[in-house]
């Protein structure tokens, strides 16, 4: 394979040619992408298990909006997409060397990201109140009663008699997504602090781009989760 110097003009944040840069991108970005590949496999384990269990027990699941509150989550999805836009705006501001906008958009991303987590906590709270926990339906609560009655529920068919798989997969998938958002918010706070110290310039704003990749990845996972958990 030839020397990789022709790749240098592609990525302005590559260091001077002291090494063969096989990927054509700077090291931090490459590292984050590689880390994200590992995250892809992690979510494959969780989402794949859900799909497999769902196919193996077709009658163990509720229809959309029966148990989960789709309108609230739709708003939350919108919130997360907004945070992705503010993130990418922050990156654009950094690339333009616009420090004021960079700080503004980063702060906005932190706040909107935290809001997403807050709404998710609210959602969990509601669900537990109605009687869905990771182990299934809580005896005596609304959902357990409805499932036991065998009658049609909230405009859909009757609930499955046991909510075991439903609760298990729902909380595990959305919980680990929420955990990733929380980690993202924490890292983003660090980046914001560094932005206020003026650490990111038009020629070197690697931190903003790298945290952005993580942030958009988490958004991407949510797009998948929202569709297969809430809408299918």
């Amino acid at each position: 394979m030839a020397h990789a110097s022709h790749a240098l003009d592609r990525d302005m944040m590559l260091p001077p040619a002291e090494a063969e840069t096989g990927s054509g991108v700077y090291t931090e970005k490459l590292g984050m992408w590689i880390f994200l590949l590992s995250e892809v496999m992690f979510f494959t384990a969780l989402i794949g298990s859900y799909l497999i269990l769902r196919v193996s027990k077709p009658d163990g699941w509720a229809a959309p909006n029966q148990i989960l509150n789709v309108p609230v989550t739709a708003v939350n999805t919108f919130i997360l997409i907004c945070s992705s836009v503010t993130m990418v705006k922050a990156y654009a501001a950094a690339a333009d060397g616009n420090q004021a906008k960079l700080k503004l958009w980063l702060v906005a991303t932190v706040l909107i990201g935290a809001t997403f987590v807050g709404v998710q906590v609210f959602e969990y709270n509601q669900l537990i109140h109605h009687g869905l926990v990771p182990g299934g339906f809580v005896a005596g609560r609304e959902l357990a009663e409805a499932a036991a009655s065998g009658a049609a529920f909230k405009g859909g068919p009757a609930l499955p008699t046991s909510g075991g798989l439903y609760g298990s997969t729902f909380y595990t998938m959305t919980g680990f997504h929420g955990f990733h958002v929380t980690m993202g918010v924490i890292c983003m706070i660090f980046v914001t602090f560094k932005a206020f110290q003026g650490k990111y310039t038009a020629t070197d704003h690697r931190g903003v781009e790298v945290i952005g990749l993580y942030w958009h990845f988490v958004d991407l996972v949510w797009i998948i989760l929202f569709t297969i958990v809430y809408l299918i």
Binding site: M1, A2, H3, A17, E18, A19, E20, T21, G22, S23, Y26, T27, E28, L30, G31, I34, F35, L37, S38, E39, M41, F42, F43, T44, A45, L46, S49, I52, L53, S56, K57, G60, V133, P134, G135, G136, S162, G164, L165, G167, S168, T169, Y171, T172, F176
Partner: protein, 589 residues
């Protein structure tokens, strides 16, 4: 031509090194120190794993007799020295877990991935030195947890290293509550360490190779570590996900693997082995890489078929993902799926065969030096052939019906992991010890250790094939319960005695390792007359490895190149233009 290898030796300490003791040796970001830290930690775990093996062997050879010195064990493990069945299953579980996750894997990947990658590709350090440090200091609590599990109420996890659900998912079935949870948490934490490490190795190899170190000039050890890191990166998260679900089944009351509310016990096996088979290759590919380096050095010849060796590594790395079902032929899996898995499993024998024949081709026509690393490398080839051939039996689904879960499997996996990986590790440690510590290990002790290990190793594991062929099941506490296993008592005792002698032989290695560190002969920069980049810097290399970035001009294994007459090796950094009267064509191939 001796001048080729020496010029850098005068440049000791190119960068001024002002780090405090703690920065230098404890919370170090230097890849060499982190490699040595992993080495010490994993050798410690290797010892623990070995002791557990002795406990297992004692019970099998002398069922229900008190273990010599076993009275030091608590009443809950071995009252009066007699091993309890619950402790036996715990020991079996932890022997596997510790050897796989805390000994062999860190020895191959953590130690040599860290130590060799920057040194062999010409980088001053890893791409992310602080993440590298974190990957070690995350592994330490995981290790402490895994040891702590022995001392909690109910004993340590006892569902096997494969932790098949539902046995592992509900304490009711094993009587182990805390131990199993500790097992899960420890593996999740260790998984984080492995992912951080592998991300670092991959980034480093892709982006930090010295100028001129093109992909097909990489030594096979680096190729192997690179492919292995990809496997670690993509396989470990699957294990983490599965173990998290297992832990939730136990702690949060979820139902992933518990059938009562629709969970699937076989889902655990699929997830585990989807991780587990790449893991098997994680445990052997780096060993193949080290052996290639050492064999070429010992034979004083370029490696035979370098390109096909690389493609074979890549093929194994890919095929490793589509064969996981061969661990599950008898599990109740769809038999048609079994046939597809059998075919892919059979095919994976091909790249392994290519590697073996190319190693033989490397020896052919060489001028073989029998130094200690070479002996271990040769033993690797010989033992790996046995482990590979015995694999064909279990790949054949009908034969597997009979030998599945018998000692035949135990023999097979130990021929690959001990006869293969561990011999390669002994060879690699001896080979790179001078670079790590600046001193040579004692070759006489090394040879005695090698011979004893080779002999006793085969006396322990070869007869296990026969145990398996007579139907001896794995993981049984007392084989004398079965009439058809009673005639095998003598063989079991023979294996046990050999195992104790094998364990005792390792004391020689430990002695050699520790004493050489302080008293060993001072090592020159290039004691084995090797071509790799790491031998162009002093032993041990300074912080930052080289005063200036090295430039690479040669393929990795230019021994006895016709372009050089003065010595029998051509370092990778040597440009032929620099030698008066040489053509600039380079070493063609």
């Amino acid at each position: 031509m001796t001048s080729l290898a020496t010029p850098v030796e005068s440049h000791v300490q190119a960068h001024p090194d002002n780090r405090s003791f703690i920065q230098k040796y404890i919370f170090s970001t230097d890849h060499k120190i982190i490699g040595i830290q992993f080495l010490l930690m994993s050798l410690l775990f290797l010892t623990v794993g070995g002791m557990l093996a002795m406990i297992i062997r004692w019970q099998l050879g002398y069922p229900n007799k008190p273990l010599p010195g076993g009275t030091v064990l608590p009443e809950t493990m071995a009252p009066g020295g007699v091993i309890l069945p619950e402790f036996y299953t715990s020991a079996v579980t932890m022997h596997g877990t510790i050897m796989v996750f805390f000994a062999i894997m860190p020895l191959l990947v953590g130690v040599f991935g860290n130590f060799l990658i920057p040194l062999k590709i010409g980088a001053p350090d890893m791409a992310f030195p602080r993440i590298n440090m974190a990957s070690f200091w995350v592994a330490v609590p995981a290790g402490i947890l895994m040891i702590a599990g022995f001392f909690v109420e109910g004993g340590h996890a006892s569902a096997g290293w494969t932790s098949y659900a539902p046995l592992s998912a509900d304490p009711e079935y094993t009587g182990v509550t805390a131990g199993q949870r500790i097992w899960c948490v420890s593996l999740i934490v260790l998984g984080l360490s492995s992912i951080l490490g592998s991300m670092n190795y991959i980034t480093t190899v892709i982006n930090m190779r010295a100028p001129g170190m093109t992909w097909f000039r990489l030594p096979l050890s680096i190729w192997a570590l690179f492919i292995t890191s990809i496997l670690v990166l993509l396989a470990i998260p699957i294990l983490s996900g599965a173990v998290i679900m297992l832990l939730f089944d136990d702690v949060l009351g979820t139902h992933f693997f518990l059938p009562a509310q629709g969970g699937q016990p076989l889902l655990w096996q699929h997830l585990f082995w989807f991780f587990g088979h790449p893991e098997v290759y994680i445990l052997i590919l780096p060993a193949m890489g080290f052996v290639s380096d050492i064999l070429s050095n010992g034979a004083r010849k370029p490696i035979f078929g370098y390109h096909s060796m690389v493609y074979a590594l890549i093929a194994i790395g890919f095929l490793g993902w589509i064969v996981w079902g061969h661990h599950m032929f008898q599990s109740g899996m769809n038999p048609t799926l079994g046939t597809s898995f059998m075919i892919s499993t059979m095919l994976i024998a091909v790249p392994s065969a290519i590697k073996v024949f190319n190693w033989l081709g490397t020896l052919w026509g060489g001028k073989i030096r029998f130094h200690v690393p070479m002996m271990h490398a040769l033993a690797f080839v010989s033992m790996f052939v046995i482990g590979g051939l015995s694999g064909v039996f279990m790949a054949s689904t009908p034969v597997d019906i009979y030998i599945h879960d018998t000692y035949f499997i135990v023999a097979h996996l130990h021929y690959v992991l001990f006869g293969g990986s561990l011999f390669a590790i002994f060879g690699a440690v001896t080979f790179w010890y001078p670079k790590m510590f600046g001193r040579m290990m004692n070759p006489t002790l090394g040879k005695i250790h090698f011979v004893l290990t080779f002999v006793f190793y085969n006396l322990v594991f070869f007869p296990m094939h026969q145990l398996g062929l007579q139907g001896h099941m794995r993981r049984i506490y007392d084989p004398t319960i079965y009439d058809f296993l009673k005639p095998l008592g003598g063989l079991n005792r023979f294996i046990t005695i050999s195992a104790f002698l094998l364990f005792a032989s390792q004391l020689l290695f430990a002695y050699n390792f520790i004493v050489s560190w302080f008293r060993g002969k001072k090592a020159p920069a290039n004691p084995w007359e090797d071509t790799g980049l790491e031998w162009t810097t002093p032993s041990p290399p300074p912080h930052g490895n080289w005063p200036a970035t090295p430039h690479v001009h040669q393929p990795p294994y230019e021994f006895n190149s016709p372009h050089v007459k003065e010595s029998d090796f051509l370092p990778q950094t040597q440009s032929l233009d620099a030698i008066p009267g040489r053509s600039s064509a380079g070493a063609a191939h």
